[in-house]
């Protein structure tokens, strides 16, 4: 793995029972790169993201992220590593509907054992143009605003690796383009490596690196 490597995958395979859902012989991602993981539904894109986030222990293979071999850490240490290293934007966003926007970000700080820093939350929301929504509940926001809050929650702890699962699904062309720009912009701002899983061809041209899992 090169010294500036962020992700190194070797001989990765994952099965549910006897069904293989993911096979990836080799994949290397340098720090700061922006990758698109392509392929139709069910080709293992989400599984790959979950492996990279340490949410799944793969059936086979070696995975190193940010210098940590994910096979070697487990339990609560893996959870702590995830909180400190990885930011995830989920396809369905899954903001906590009982909590205000500010508390959604504070929850991210609390669960990652980071300092609960209101100034940082305001700054993060401001950078995404939703600082004025801090006290609102997610249900009071538009879809676009909710997406921005979800991105804010993923980057509030300054992750080294930013993962996004189908961020443009169900969005019209303009919104899809904006969502992709937002991720790139935020990854750049925080010096994070960006991996976006999508089957959406519309955002292809925004990413110089592509991994096609259907191949």
């Amino acid at each position: 793995m090169p010294s500036n490597g962020m992700i190194s995958v070797k001989g990765l395979a994952h099965r549910y029972g006897s069904t293989e859902v993911l096979r990836l012989p080799e994949w290397n991602v340098a720090q700061g790169e922006r990758w698109l993981v392509l392929g139709p539904s069910g080709c293992g894109k989400t599984t790959l993201l979950h492996v990279l986030a340490g949410l799944i222990r793969p059936s086979e293979g070696e995975v190193e992220v940010s210098g940590e071999s994910l096979r070697k850490i487990d339990g609560a240490r893996l959870d702590r590593w995830r909180g400190a290293t990885v930011g995830i934007v989920l396809q369905a966003l899954h903001l906590m509907r009982h909590l205000s926007v500010r508390d959604n970000l504070r929850l991210a700080q609390y669960m990652a054992r980071a300092a609960q820093d209101d100034a940082r939350i305001t700054e993060t929301l401001g950078a995404l143009g939703v600082a004025d929504k801090a006290m609102r509940r997610p249900a009071d926001l538009s879809e676009g605003e909710r997406q921005r809050v979800a991105v804010a929650r993923a980057v509030v702890n300054r992750p080294k690796l930013l993962l996004a699962d189908e961020p443009t699904a169900n969005l019209d062309d303009a919104a899809a383009a904006r969502a992709a720009d937002l991720l790139v912009e935020q990854a750049e701002r925080h010096g994070a490596t960006l991996v976006v899983a999508t089957h959406d061809a519309r955002v292809k041209q925004k990413f110089e690196k592509r991994l096609d899992l259907s191949a």
């Binding site: 599984t47 899954h94 906590m96 929850l107 609390y110």
Partner: protein
């Protein structure tokens, strides 16, 4: 943000479930608190009133009635006993002190008790105003009687026959209030005290003695109602009551025995209420369990997302457990407040009925146990939901949606 505030925000998001759990728990805890307060205060006060009295001697009848009327002034007397016999008994070598009381009259619902000054000493009462009675027809009011009637030294009043205040008035023989006692927390607070001679005089004047021979006959017939006896030695308990009860006209009753019997009778009702309260607390536990468990389904994404944010499974376990604990603590605190408020309300009502007072401003060590039990119920109810939260399969949950 911490587990307590986070769980509180989830509880607030389900107001109906949360309210149901809290109401059940508060009702259960409140009922038990009320029982604990009332029973323990009643026992304490009854013990205080009976302190220094080993035996009550009076006319034949129900021994419990004798105790209730002779010590607690809460029932009709069993009848009177001849003064001569009471005096003879008082000289018994096993008796250290015998206080005769003459009962039967009342004023505004308070009982007029004819007694010697030693009756005041028995309860260690001090005068708040005026002096003790010296001559017949002088009266001293208990603290509560004075406070509630607003009557003080120098006022003249007429007693009435019977204790309820509904009987005929003894208008021809009014009492003069010469003193008011300080509060003792005993039955004395609710009595009007006078000399035994006053009680005799009131009744003799009603019948109007015609001449000297009549007066003599009346004096020979003089009676008292009860004799409060203090033993000279513990040995007396074994022999004296039997000796007295074998005499045809007298009855001796032990306050310790009769009050224990009374509490056994009342105890059945108390136990039934307590069992009902326990059922309420268990129902509260069930409600907490159902609320947390059914909410798991709609919360599974939240729990999975918390894991993606860096929460360990233990954290999710802790979150659900904290929700059970928060419910238990809040429910128990509301219950404690409810129990004390009910006891205070009951106290106000009892006082207006001139009954044994009860206060809600007292705390009992048992209440601490109640909080511990409520906590236990909350924790047990939350265990299974917490375990399911702990086992959340993050990847599979997120892949579903």
């Amino acid at each position: 943000m911490n587990l307590a505030t986070l769980s509180a925000s989830y509880l607030r998001a389900r107001p109906l479930n949360t309210a149901l759990s809290l109401i059940l728990l508060a009702l259960g805890v409140g009922t038990i608190v009320l029982l604990v307060l009332v029973v323990s205060q009643l026992e304490e006060r009854m013990q205080r009133d009976a302190r220094g009295i080993d035996l009550v001697v009076g006319a034949k009848g129900s021994p419990m009635q004798l105790i209730l009327s002779g010590i607690y002034h809460a029932d009709a007397p069993t009848g009177n006993i001849p003064l001569a016999e009471a005096r003879a008994l008082a000289k018994h070598r096993l008796i250290k002190r015998a206080i005769p009381l003459a009962l039967g009259d009342g004023w505004k619902g308070y009982r007029i008790v004819g007694a010697g000054h030693e009756y005041v000493e028995l309860y260690g009462a001090r005068l708040a105003a005026g002096r003790l009675w010296q001559k017949p027809m002088e009266a001293v009011l208990g603290a509560e009687v004075a406070a509630r009637t607003g009557v003080g030294v120098g006022v003249r009043f007429a007693g009435s026959h019977g204790v309820t205040g509904q009987g005929e008035e003894h208008g021809a023989a009014p009492y003069d209030v010469v003193g008011v006692l300080g509060r003792t927390g005993s039955v004395l607070d609710r009595l009007v005290l006078t000399s035994i001679e006053s009680v005799w005089q009131v009744h003799e004047e009603e019948h109007g003695p015609a001449d000297e021979a009549d007066r003599k006959a009346l004096e020979e017939d003089r009676e008292v109602t009860v004799l409060l006896v203090q033993y000279a030695s513990p040995l007396a308990a074994a022999t004296l009551p039997r000796q007295i009860n074998s005499k045809s006209e007298l009855q001796a009753a032990s306050p310790a025995y009769e009050t224990a019997r009374l509490f056994r009778i009342v105890g059945v009702g108390v136990e039934a209420l307590r069992a009902f309260a326990v059922v309420l607390i268990l129902a509260a536990g069930l409600s907490v369990f159902i609320a947390l468990y059914t909410a798991l389904e709609e919360r599974r994404y939240d729990l999975a997302v918390m894991r993606t944010l860096g929460a360990s499974p233990g954290k999710l376990f802790g979150l659900l457990l904290t929700e059970g604990i928060v419910l238990a603590i809040v429910g128990a605190v509301i219950g404690l407040a409810l129990g004390h408020a009910l006891a205070s309300a009951l106290g106000v009502w009892l006082e207006s009925q001139q009954q044994y007072p009860v206060t809600g401003l007292e705390w009992r060590p048992e209440e601490l146990w109640l909080v511990v039990v409520a906590l236990g119920v909350g924790v047990v109810a939350a265990l299974l939901p917490a375990w399911r939260a702990y086992r959340t399969d993050v990847s599979r949950t997120l892949a579903q949606g």
